[in-house]
């Protein structure tokens, strides 16, 4: 990061309009998470449904990061990681884990509501769940340290009919 805020220099009214769309989309993401959790509770280990749920958490994390909703980004990121571990078969979704995921989905919905209403969420409600999620699934490495040189490409204006 450069110290510049994410999406810095976009007009405030533009960012405000995008934020509204983000919270509209959050409703669909929360519904997808709930559907994935219900499938797991019903004993279905459908990788696609778990993947959809993980992607929903991922989407909330990405948007929350843009708007500097750090608590929401951190929480949804942890939930995404836990779901990814289940999908990969590294975390067994037994009763304890399913209970944790259920509480996490409720807490995430509260965090989304707090963000949409522009009020602070109660960390006392989310911190214990965040800690438990961290205990069952550790965060993967960031790609920042990858050894990569950008690949230049000659620019050729397009000819349109």
């Amino acid at each position: 990061m450069t110290g510049e805020r994410p999406a810095g220099a976009l007009p405030p009214e533009t960012l405000a309009a995008i934020r509204v769309v983000f919270f509209e989309e959050c409703e669909a993401h929360l519904a997808q998470l709930t559907a994935g959790l219900r499938a797991l509770q019903a004993g279905r280990r459908d990788p696609e449904a778990i993947g959809d749920a993980a992607r929903a958490a991922h989407s909330i994390k990405g948007g929350a990061g843009i708007f500097q909703l750090n608590a929401l980004a951190r929480f949804s990121g942890r939930l995404e990681t836990a779901l990814g571990e289940i999908r990969a078969g590294r975390l067994e979704p037994g009763p304890d884990i399913l209970g944790l995921l259920s509480r996490a989905c409720e807490a995430l919905a509260d965090l989304v509501a707090a963000g949409a209403e522009d009020r602070p969420a109660d960390p006392a409600l989310t911190a214990p769940i965040l800690e438990q999620l961290a205990a069952v699934a550790s965060e993967p490495a960031a790609p920042a340290g990858l050894d990569f040189t950008p690949r230049p490409m000659p620019f050729q204006p397009l000819r349109r009919a």
């Binding site: 999406a7 995008i18 990405g62 965060e139 960031a142 050729q156």
Partner: protein
């Protein structure tokens, strides 16, 4: 040294908010020619009919993800001059390695700033005027 206004970009992301953010950010850095698609399948169909200079694509999408789209773009002779920047999140290291192996031109980690987006494009095409 391309003119920013001449760079035609396709933004591919399943989230409307993220597409709007990238589109508006591109507009701010002088690239107003932007089209949008909601997944890789839609994108490759559109690119075959109407190539662009640059694809800025999310990695994690339903139907056809960013890696599959990159692979499809790299296998199309008509898209040989199409640059590809992958939008990723922290923690996507393994997928970024796969994107590098598939020939991605650069990647951009979310959340990003306007100057980061511009630098990534300039790392591919050279300074934008």
């Amino acid at each position: 040294m391309p003119q920013a206004a001449a760079v035609e970009v396709m933004v591919v992301d399943d989230q409307r908010a993220m597409r709007a953010l990238v589109r508006d950010s591109l507009g701010q850095i002088g690239c107003p020619c932007v089209s949008e698609c909601g997944d890789g399948h839609e994108a490759i169909q559109s690119l075959r009919a109407r190539p662009v200079n640059l694809v800025v694509s999310d990695l994690n999408m339903p139907v056809m993800d960013g890696l599959a789209l990159l692979k499809a773009v790299r296998s199309e002779p008509i898209l040989a001059n199409t640059a590809f920047i992958m939008l990723t999140s922290r923690g996507d290291a393994e997928f970024v390695k796969q994107a590098i192996a598939l020939g991605v031109n650069n990647y951009l980690v979310k959340p990003f700033t306007l100057s980061m987006l511009k630098r990534k494009i300039e790392s591919v095409f050279g300074p934008l005027t």
